[in-house]
């Protein structure tokens, strides 16, 4: 019988032996983590492929396109007016602002953007600023919730609900507003709306203050956002960031100031900018932007041409039957209006051939429309320059070096919407 010698060292030596065998393999091994497409912090359907070394991100690859609906293709196949509902679904947290930006782009192509009646311009500014407050309230609420401050979310959502009530009585819909028309608006302000809006402004100011007391000096919030996700001024410009993300990095640029559209040049407001370019600065910029929006709204409500209930019967549409639909009464009683109505509904407005790019300062950043027209009622090519798409392109540069828990802070502070990113 052969004997076999069994090696049996003491337990401590055995563990040490095993560790020295395994360690060379363990070290430097990276884990790939899929975040999204359905993750609470991604606010939609963004997928992020993270390469991790322990808890440190070494590489981040965003995968977008899960919400791609082919809006640009659809736009080529319908009239300019028919595309307005599709703009609601770009940045679906600020549909009114998209409606206004799109209408202004088509009006610029037609050369009628300067001819809009003053009341229409004021109401459009009111729409834009209400949308900005609404979008920032949601952005900050979910930002706070993602980093652990749930109360903020409840607070801002209460206030946002009031905006939706206002929007509902203004447009008839809470979410999909489709409020603007080429050359005007779908309707004037309803009676009593201005008073309701003033009441809301008085309340939202208190709410913004309360949000600020909950977050700005909150130790947990500050620790999780300060010096996290720092975007330098040069990087912000190089990656084409816009809106609060650009201003957070210290670039003093706002399209409402640099290239005023509507009546922004007649209103007083300040453009807040950050200095460090971190998540905390972007948060501060949004807080201050809401206050400036309140300031703008108050000025608009005070100066509104025709007064709150339009006793002076100021028009809200361009007086041109070939651009704006005539009233139902006129269509049924007058031949000329009937013809205009028929042409507008079946063929759309008669836009000239040419190409324009128009961009507006939306809550998320610069929303631009490039329209290439060969004449007639349909665009030959309509390109949507969406701020969220461009803002997200910085992620592969920004994320490496951060801890995995920082992703939620960075996502919250970039405040993107996938409906707009993917189009």
């Amino acid at each position: 019988m052969a004997t076999q010698e069994i090696q049996y060292p003491d337990p401590a030596a055995r563990v040490a032996q095993a560790a020295s065998d395994e360690l060379p393999d363990m070290q430097g091994e990276k884990m790939v983590l899929n975040m999204g497409p359905s993750h609470p912090a991604t606010h939609g359907v963004l997928r992020l492929v993270l390469e991790l070394d322990g808890e440190i991100i070494t590489k981040a690859t965003p995968e977008v396109g899960y919400l791609h609906r082919g809006d640009e293709k659809i736009a080529e196949n319908m009239t300019y007016t028919q595309f307005i509902p599709y703009t609601d679904r770009l940045d679906y947290l600020a549909p009114l602002a998209n409606n206004v930006a799109y209408a202004l782009a088509v009006e610029k192509l037609m050369g009628i953007d300067k001819a809009l009646p003053p009341r229409c311009q004021y109401i459009r500014v009111i729409c834009c600023e209400l949308a900005r407050i609404s979008s920032h309230l949601l952005g900050l609420g979910s930002f706070g919730m993602d980093v652990g401050a749930l109360t903020v979310f409840l607070l801002t959502f209460t206030e946002r609900e009031k905006i939706y009530t206002l929007i509902e009585s203004l447009t008839g819909a809470r979410f999909t507003t489709t409020y603007t028309r080429i050359g005007g608006l779908s309707r004037d302000l309803p009676p009593g709306w201005v008073a309701q809006c003033r009441k809301f402004l008085d309340e939202v100011v208190l709410n913004i203050d309360e949000t600020e007391t909950l977050l700005s000096r909150n130790r947990i919030f500050v620790d999780r956002t300060r010096d996290v996700g720092v975007i330098s001024r040069a990087d912000a410009i190089d990656y084409g960031l816009s809106g609060p993300n650009l201003r957070g990095s210290g670039v003093d640029f706002d399209i409402r100031k640099a290239h005023p559209y509507l009546i922004y040049d007649q209103l007083e407001f300040d453009v807040p900018t950050g200095s460090a370019g971190d998540c905390y600065d972007r948060y501060l910029v949004r807080i201050e932007e809401m206050r400036q929006s309140v300031r703008l709204l108050r000025q608009c409500l005070d100066k509104l041409p025709g007064g709150p209930d339009n006793a002076a019967h100021e028009p809200v549409n361009i007086p041109d039957g070939k651009t704006v639909l005539p009233s139902k009464y006129k269509v049924l009683t007058s031949m000329e209006e009937l013809i205009h109505q028929f042409i507008l509904v079946t063929q759309g407005v008669n836009a000239p051939a040419g190409e324009i790019y128009f961009s507006a300062e939306n809550p998320k950043g610069e929303l631009g429309f490039y329209i290439h027209s060969k004449g007639g009622g349909t665009p030959y090519r309509l390109k949507i320059r969406s701020p969220s798409f461009v803002n997200l392109s910085i992620l592969p540069h920004l994320m490496p070096g951060h801890m995995i828990s920082d992703t939620v802070s960075i996502f919250g502070s970039l405040d993107f919407v996938m409906g707009e990113c993917d189009r």
Binding site: H68, K73, N77, I237, T346, Y357, G368, V390
Partner: protein, 210 residues
């Protein structure tokens, strides 16, 4: 300094390659005749003319005319607050031009989107993959010869493998067509001729043979 002055400076540097600036609705457009130098022109515009912000790159499909593709670069300068549109045309045979992602890093995703939607390739791009459509999708949906209803793709269980039914549409007409089909842009499908209406049986005729 006005956008026109900046466009003239660009023309001064590159001579006949750059067209005379055109103006429409207050926007200045210059056209570059050779797409292969677009990266040099953009680098010069950024370094010497202060166009530090690339707003957007757009591609246009001039289906049926040559060269088929037009690219429009929208430049902006934070220093002088002037915008300029630089356009260049690319033939269908080459469908390729140099990348400007080395000039502005934001061009990376814009160029990926153009590749994804229209199929133009950018020479020297660091990561030219599809961005909005899924990896492996065989078509380029923003081309004019791609029907609105979509095309069937050989990828069962990955995504749509049939074209979408156009029920309810189309809703818009274009003046001048002979019948409804030719007046509706949605029904325009360059790959297939419009349906022959003379072969559609009269109501009631089909039931008779049954």
């Amino acid at each position: 300094m006005s956008p026109r002055d900046l466009a003239l400076k660009l023309k001064e540097r590159f001579g006949n390659l750059i067209s005379d600036p055109r103006e429409f609705r207050g926007e200045i457009t210059v056209e570059l005749s050779d797409p292969d130098v677009v990266a040099e022109v953009c680098a010069f515009a950024k370094a010497s003319l202060g166009f530090d912000y690339l707003v957007d790159i757009t591609s246009i499909d001039n289906y049926g005319s040559d060269p088929r593709w037009t690219l429009a670069y929208h430049l902006y300068g934070y220093g002088h607050h002037c915008a300029l549109r630089l356009k260049t045309r690319v033939s269908e045979a080459s469908s390729e031009l140099p990348t400007v992602s080395a000039v502005w890093r934001t061009a990376d995703w814009h160029e990926r989107e153009i590749y994804d939607m229209m199929g133009l390739r950018f020479r020297g791009h660091p990561d030219l993959r599809r961005i909005l459509m899924w990896e492996g999708y065989p078509h380029f949906p923003l081309r004019k010869d791609f029907p609105l209803a979509g095309k069937p793709s050989e990828m069962p269980e990955v995504a749509f493998s049939k074209s979408a039914p156009m029920e309810g549409g189309p809703f818009v007409t274009v003046a001048g067509g002979k019948d409804t089909v030719s007046r509706e842009p949605r029904a325009r499908n360059p790959e297939s001729a419009p349906p022959d209406l003379s072969k559609v049986p009269e109501p009631g005729v089909a039931k008779e043979g049954k």
